[in-house]
């Protein structure tokens, strides 16, 4: 009888332990799923605010406003992010007067985290601030420099050396865009004329004259 009693008692303890563990596991799982799928996502979305980057071109310094054909001039662009850290900020310098960058434009200096890229006629470029989600073909060449990420208050500079090949007004379009692009603060300039990409630009120009 003692043996039976002991065996029965052990069985009861074992069954009870199993039930307790299953109940505890069920409660823990309910807590886990509630937190993971409902509570934390809602909490995160309600507390997280939109990233408000604010790119600006703080300086566009030309070495000359007028050059003689055959001579070159320098342009230094300084850009800053006055807002929140952007995942990426791009500075674009485009040249609507020329069909190829070849030997006309050279990068003399830059401090961006990424190496600037040359965009030739026909290359794919983003448009309307959608980046590569809305791609079009480039009708004229440009240079794009970017840093990823671009922290609040950071300055980046690029200097180019330009040697025009024809007389007239040599035009350079300038703009900077922070990505992800959420609102109008994420691009600079914020108004004015638009380029072929449907994005606002600032214009810098040099008169090229004969001797």
């Amino acid at each position: 009888m003692n043996f039976d009693y002991s065996k029965r008692s052990n069985n009861i303890i074992r069954v009870n332990t199993t039930i307790v563990l299953i109940v505890l596991a069920a409660i823990s799982l309910i807590i886990y799923y509630s937190l993971s799928i409902l509570y934390i996502p809602q909490l995160y979305l309600s507390f997280s605010s939109e990233v408000k980057s604010q790119p600006v071109i703080t300086g566009a310094k030309l070495s000359n406003s007028k050059v003689i054909l055959g001579e070159s001039f320098d342009l230094t662009i300084t850009t800053r992010n006055n807002g929140d850290t952007a995942d990426m900020q791009v500075v674009s310098l485009s040249f609507p007067n020329i069909t190829s960058i070849d030997s006309i434009v050279k990068i003399s200096d830059y401090n961006f985290t990424q190496k600037p890229v040359f965009i030739e006629v026909g290359d794919d470029v983003g448009s309307e601030y959608y980046g590569f989600d809305k791609v079009i073909k480039a009708p004229y060449p440009s240079i794009e420099a970017n840093s990823r990420p671009w922290h609040t208050g950071d300055y980046y500079q690029i200097s180019i050396d330009v040697k025009p090949t024809s007389v007239g007004r040599f035009v350079i379009f300038l703009k900077t865009i922070a990505l992800p692009h959420i609102n109008e603060l994420d691009h600079y300039p914020r108004f004015g004329i638009k380029d072929y990409q449907g994005e606002f630009i600032a214009v810098s120009s040099v008169d090229v004259v004969n001797k």
């Binding site: 199993t18 937190l35 934390i40 996502p41 995160y44 979305l45 990426m88 990420p149 992800p180």
Partner: protein, 416 residues
């Protein structure tokens, strides 16, 4: 040290046949200490291979995150150095394995009394896996030279990942079979000496917790490399200038939904079954939790911390330890019945969407929201998506998790 000396003396005292082993292999010492030493060194090789591959995978994972963040890359960037060190370590391990496998094979074939060492598959897998890792280097260089920037899925990357998977499976087989070889050899020694198997248990010098730890080290790279292989076919990171290896987004999402829950369940249930086999049917709580924790730590260190905008989501990710601990309790504390094993599989499978955060966001974003997924938008998009998509994924995930547990149980039962 004392234990080692006592073991050595005991074996030599009891050994009746004691031949000499020369470098030209003409004669062989027939003593179990020599044999055990060979197996132990072989085991060291297996551990180095597993650890090396784990290191390489962690480096690779960090490298992918850096690519997503577009951080400037050099040949000696920290993730690359970790990746190369891992590959180097696994090469050293494979060499050790090969050398000691060769010595023990000569030893066994000379004795002829004991055969069927069962290390062949392990060494074959490790050598082919490590060869693929080494081959992937020049292949990657050629691929870059021909096609410029490459995507996640490319022939060199596929070679690398398959090599990691093969090598890690081989190393795990080596670790577990080494244990059984030592165990069987020791039992047969005791039998020969005084026909008393129980005495073996008293003289047992193999620390079981060490073998449990080694099994965890062995199984983690398998989990990581099979996850990496799944990522390759499901993440939309393979569209480059010359080719587009990205699968159609829905197909990629289906692959992820069917594979990730299966992997979590299969790996963790298999781990427990292996540990049970090693520990003479004793089940101990902790192995599954520890393995899950290491997997999570690797994810936090290589995927979450490098992206500063995800730092606030670490507490969310850490919650994933709950289903893992519950599965561990079910498998180690409750009776080992099918219903509990399958329930554990289901629980583990159901956590896949949270456990594979943040990378999984890229897979389902293509199907659900299709927004540009910038690093700072990963968490908001994931948390928006989880409401919409998780209720649809939960049932298949639980089903596939149960399937993982079934396959694991059948595979290990059949092996026995």
């Amino acid at each position: 040290m004392k234990k080692i000396f006592s073991f050595r003396r005991r074996v030599f005292d009891n050994n009746t046949e004691n031949h000499q082993y020369s470098k030209n292999h003409s004669t062989v010492i027939e003593d179990p200490y020599f044999y055990k030493r060979l197996i132990n060194r072989y085991l060291v090789g297996c551990i180095l291979v597993s650890f090396g591959i784990l290191l390489a995978e962690s480096g690779g994972s960090w490298d992918i995150t850096n690519h997503l963040l577009n951080k400037p890359e050099t040949f000696f960037s920290p993730p690359h150095v970790i990746l190369y060190s891992g590959i180097g370590l696994s090469l050293v391990g494979a060499t050790i394995m090969f050398l000691y496998w060769r010595s023990s094979s000569i030893y066994i074939s000379t004795r002829k009394k004991e055969k069927n060492l069962e290390l062949d598959l392990s060494i074959k897998l490790v050598i082919s896996g490590v060869s693929m890792l080494i081959l992937a280097g020049p292949l990657d260089f050629s691929w870059h030279s021909a096609f410029g920037l490459d995507g996640l899925l490319s022939p060199p990357h596929l070679t690398l990942t398959i090599g990691m998977l093969a090598g890690s499976i081989g190393a795990l087989i080596g670790i577990t079979s080494s244990y059984f070889v030592i165990l069987n050899n020791s039992i047969s020694q005791e039998k020969r000496q005084d026909n008393n198997i129980d005495k073996f248990k008293n003289n047992e010098k193999i620390p079981l917790s060490l073998y449990t730890t080694l099994t965890i080290i062995g199984i983690l790279p398998i989990w990581m490399s099979s996850s990496g292989l799944t990522y390759m076919f499901s993440l939309p990171f393979s569209d480059t200038e010359y080719y587009n290896f990205n699968l159609e987004p829905t197909t990629a999402a289906i692959i992820a939904t069917l594979t990730f829950p299966f992997l979590i369940s299969f790996i963790l249930v298999s781990l427990l079954r292996l540990v049970v086999e090693i520990s003479n049917k004793k089940r101990k709580f902790g192995a599954i939790s520890l393995t899950g924790s290491i997997f999570m730590i690797i994810t936090i260190v290589t995927m979450i911390i490098p992206n500063k905008s995800l730092l606030s989501t670490i507490p969310f990710y850490v919650l994933n330890i709950i289903p893992i601990i519950i599965a561990d309790i079910f498998l180690s504390k409750l009776p080992l019945k099918r219903v509990y094993i399958y329930t554990s599989g289901g629980i583990l499978g159901s956590s896949f969407f949270m456990l594979y955060y943040p990378m999984i966001t890229h897979i389902y974003n293509e199907v659900v929201t299709n927004q540009p997924l910038w690093p700072s938008l990963t968490a908001p998009i994931y948390f928006e998506m989880i409401f919409q998509i998780y209720p649809l994924l939960a049932v298949p995930a639980i089903g596939v998790g149960i399937l993982g547990a079934i396959v694991s149980s059948r595979l290990i039962n059949r092996k026995n």
